[in-house]
Amino acid sequence: MAALTEEQSMLKDQASAWVVEQSPVASFREMRDSGVETAFIPTTWQSMVDMGWTGILVPEQYGGSDLGYLTFGVVLEQLGRQLAASPLYASALVGASAVLIAGSDEQKQSLLPKIVDGTEILTLAVDEGAHHAPADLALRAEASADGFVLNGTKTLVVEGLSATTLVVAARTANGITLFVVPADAPGITRQRLTMLDSRGYANVAFADVAIPASAVLGTVDQGAEPLDAILDRARAGLAAEMLGTAAQAFDLTLDYLKTREQFGRVIGSFQALGHRAAGLFTSMELTRSCMEAALQAIDAKAENVPEMCALSKCKVGDFLHEMSNQLIQIHGGIGMTDEFDAGFYLKRARVAEHLFGNQAFHRERYATLLGF
């Protein structure tokens, strides 16, 4: 862990204790088995709101605590350990970032307090195809007499079913424009997606959705730059949750290496496995530095935020990929059973790796940002 402030350490302890007691993997399993449409348990979500986690990024004047991204990452990492499902990330990190970065004072006033008290769930609708390609988005927003008309489809919108407000990236006459659109606006159809990781996603279709000019977030045609900034924060935040997931997978595996006996000895005494664990631990330490540095760069408003976020999402993605595979491999047969939790970690890993750009996307982005 980074050298945490007292406040961050307290939140870490709080989140760590809460998630083990109130939202362990067993709760996630219950949620999955119940098939609940929103893919989270409302009371769990309400507890997060009550603890103030929805306000971590939000300035005090809008009811938040303004503690910054590293602090949010500290909480998300603990939630990632137990695969806790909720709209916290989509709304209070990604959604709040969008409003903070691009929103007018009126939009901040109308949306941020409701993100904090949980009455609004925001989410970002950006991808349209099988791959994350924000530069190629095609959903159109045509200017009308008193606003815009949206036509097109967004795919794999995180918490798309439970969201009350969508932050939509659309193509306008001379560029990209961001809009805040009520999720129940006439012309919007939401289709639940049942994904590998059992979390909440939806495809969202826009058919002649008319919205007023006041729905523009930021400036017409100038949305590409803030969208990039929002995506960077989305990537860095998700990486924190993903590292929590990977760290738990590592802990489970290490514990198994120390307790599982074969050939009359614990399997962790075999050098092949000891060295594999050492290699994974080394990767985890290197990865943690990237994850924390990206969040710290955002908090410090550093110039290299884009490359740090690409670095973080890529390195965490690589490590989670390998760790989730080794979680299954080292557990052997038991790891293949649905009764054991390993599969949840593997499934979550692949979806999270994909979201907001996989490792290949971010290696390419890193090279481009470094000018080669």
Binding site: M1, A2, A3, L254, L257, K258, R265, V266, G268, S269, F270, Q271, L273, G274, H275, A277, A278, G279, F281, T282, E285, L286, T287, R288, S289, C290, E292, A293, L311, C314, K315, A360, R363, E364, Y366, A367, T368, L370, G371, F372
Partner: protein, 403 residues
């Protein structure tokens, strides 16, 4: 983060001292392990070394009475930053061989007051170069199986045996050697750590030529060599604890955390553009290389961030960190990959052995690539570091044979 006034005062005085004392002719230069460049840099280097030593800045964290300056880690960081700014470097750790990085810190911990006063000031001033006699032909990764004998002869030990990979032995004045003082005890229990002068008839050194050509490594033969008993470091037959600590300091020095070095290398991506060419959009023409280069630069960045994170977490109290094995393996991986990529980028120009057809950078990169293969062998091999991580950090059972 704003700096404390104490630290910014120190920054100011360090900066002022540097502008007065650092010879401009040395800006951007550095000295290597071999000692040849020391001669090449001439009188200015000698003067610079002396001035640094007077300040106690050759080994700045050591106490003043032993030749250091008693600086805190944050102060050293500031000093390094100020040196970096003017292209200055500290030649003393290189000139003292294994003295500043390994022998000194271990003497500070295990030495008697007399030993500290006798040995540390010469190291901190860069006047006395030290080598280490640890490995033997039949004791590499399994160091504790060493067989060089030290026999009790009153006030002295008499040493017989052979050491290998003693870096700089041919140009060192002193040696720290691991010797067997009790052949009946279990192998780790009969070992002692002694210090002896190299200039005596019982010590002979032979340089070893490596795959990269000339190297600082030597074979060192002890043929009735003498070590004074007053130069026994730590207790008799307790040399294994001393050397374990010494090797921790060695790993720490091989983590890739560097002090200021005046020379600024050309970024690999710029070199790649020059040798490989670019597409119309400015991306590297070799798509496969581009991706692997991006991965390497990410690994390199991750390594640097990890050094920073571990330092920050220790909040200035860093001595020898448990993470040293991780960092040593990571530093090795990054450096070896960099060498491989550099060669690949240079193509045929990166495969030359000697001759005017190749630039000095090109020839240098070949030698560096070859010499770099040693990084995952010396100081505890890649595999030995993984044993340490799995046993000492992760708490897994011992996987190697017990001795």
């Amino acid at each position: 983060m704003s700096e404390s006034s104490e630290l910014s005062d120190f920054r100011e005085s360090a900066s002022a001292w540097l502008s007065e004392n650092f010879p401009a002719s040395l800006a951007g230069k550095s000295v290597g392990m071999e000692g040849e460049s020391v001669a090449a840099l001439g009188d200015d280097l000698t003067a610079w070394r002396q001035r640094l030593a007077e300040q106690g800045w050759g080994a700045p964290t050591w106490p003043r009475e032993y030749g250091g300056a008693g600086l805190s880690h944050p102060q050293v960081k500031v000093l390094n930053q100020e040196m970096e700014k003017v292209g200055a470097f500290n030649p003393i750790p290189m000139m003292a061989g294994m003295g500043v990085t390994m022998v000194g810190p271990t003497v500070l911990e295990y030495g008697t007051e007399d030993q500290k006063l006798k040995h540390l000031p010469g190291i901190a001033s860069g006047e006395i170069r030290w080598c280490l006699g640890l490995s033997e032909p039949n004791a590499g990764s399994d160091l504790a199986s060493l067989s060089t004998k030290a026999e009790d002869n009153g006030d002295q030990f008499v040493l017989n045996g052979q050491k290998v990979w003693t870096s700089g032995a041919d140009i060192s004045q002193w040696c720290g050697a691991l010797v067997r003082t009790d052949s009946k005890a279990k192998k780790r229990d009969g070992i002692s750590f002694v210090m002896l002068p190299m200039d005596q008839s019982g010590v002979e050194t032979r340089p070893i030529k490596l795959i990269a050509g000339a190297s600082p490594f030597c074979e060192t033969y002890f043929n009735n060599a003498i070590a004074e008993k007053s130069d026994l470091l730590g207790k008799l037959n307790d040399g294994w604890s001393v050397v374990k600590r010494l090797l921790q300091h060695e790993r720490q020095s091989q983590t890739g955390a560097r002090g200021p070095s005046g020379a600024k290398p050309v970024p690999l991506q710029e070199m790649a553009k020059k040798y490989v060419g670019t597409n119309a959009d400015g991306t590297l023409a070799d798509v496969d290389l581009r991706v692997r280069l991006a991965s390497h630069l990410m690994d390199s960045k991750a390594h640097g961030l990890t050094i920073g994170r571990i330092t920050a977490e220790a909040r200035g109290n860093v001595e020898v960190s448990a993470a040293a094995s991780i960092l040593k393996n990571s530093a090795t991986h990054v450096a070896q990959t960099k060498s491989e990529l550099t060669m690949e980028i240079m193509g045929a120009q990166g495969l030359g052995w000697e001759g005017a057809e190749f630039s000095s950078e090109e020839l240098g990169s070949v030698r560096e690539w070859l010499f770099g293969k040693a990084m995952s062998i010396y100081g505890g091999s890649f595999e030995v570091q993984n044993n340490i991580i799995s046993k000492n950090i992760l708490g897994l059972p011992e996987t190697t044979q017990k001795g």
